[in-house]
């Protein structure tokens, strides 16, 4: 019932799908009842992000020294800001290859999640327009 009410307001649905997809990777698809797609995306993005901070430590999330990387890492989830809050003081220094690899992994995960958010928003919008045409 909530979904049908939302589908009557495409802008509201699109915004909710986008925010859900940003909050938890793949959650936007879950709202669209695309469960297998949501699971694949959540597991893959969470794994690659987790592997990134395992290789480089949470120090790769650096809102002060690497703010451009941080913007891309924030595409994973707003929860990244919590890690950023702990690492902002420079308490977890990381240099060299582990830093590079960690930043590449976490930022790739962020960009992939951005792709998924855009795609889920498009699917939400297209679903509504198709229903209207029928």
């Amino acid at each position: 019932m909530a979904r049908s009410r939302l589908s009557q307001n495409p802008i509201q649905m699109v915004i909710i799908v986008a925010l859900a997809g940003w909050l938890i990777p793949g959650c936007g698809y879950l709202l669209l009842k695309e469960i297998s797609r949501a699971l694949i995306i959540f597991v893959t993005i969470a794994l690659i992000f987790g592997l990134g901070i395992y290789i480089g430590s949470i120090g790769v999330i650096d809102p002060v020294g690497a703010n451009l990387w941080y913007v891309v890492q924030m595409m994973n989830s707003p929860l990244v800001a919590i890690i950023g809050h702990f690492t902002a003081g420079g308490g977890y220094p990381v240099f060299g290859r582990p830093n590079e690899i960690g930043q590449i992994y976490t930022s790739s995960a962020g960009l992939l999640n951005l792709l998924c958010i855009i795609n889920s928003v498009y699917m939400a919008y297209r679903g509504k327009t198709t229903a209207t045409e029928q």
């Binding site: 995306i41 893959t44 690659i48 290789i55 120090g59 992994y105 992939l112 998924c116």
Partner: protein, 83 residues
């Protein structure tokens, strides 16, 4: 349980030691696999296990093959310049 959780969290507070050896180049494989899987998950109109696996493996193989070709060309150019 508390010790296990603390141990697991501690693993994320210190970086892993990665050398500058050729084997470290293999670290590109997980990222390429993730890109192939997520891209195909967004592009396939209907997800079925067989088709999804086939398409993801094909894309993964294509990216790896192109990267190997580019690496070989760059290595050849470097060899020509330095010899």
């Amino acid at each position: 349980m508390y010790k296990l959780t603390a141990f697991m969290l501690a693993n994320f507070t210190a970086p892993v030691d990665i050398g500058t050896n050729p084997q470290s180049l293999l670290l590109f494989i997980p990222v390429v696999a993730a890109i192939a899987i997520v891209y195909k998950a967004t592009k396939l109109p209907r997800i079925t296990a067989g088709r999804f696996l086939k398409e993801s493996i094909l894309l993964f193989g294509s990216i790896v093959a192109v990267m190997v070709i580019v690496a070989l060309v760059l290595a050849a150019v470097a060899w020509l310049i330095t010899e």
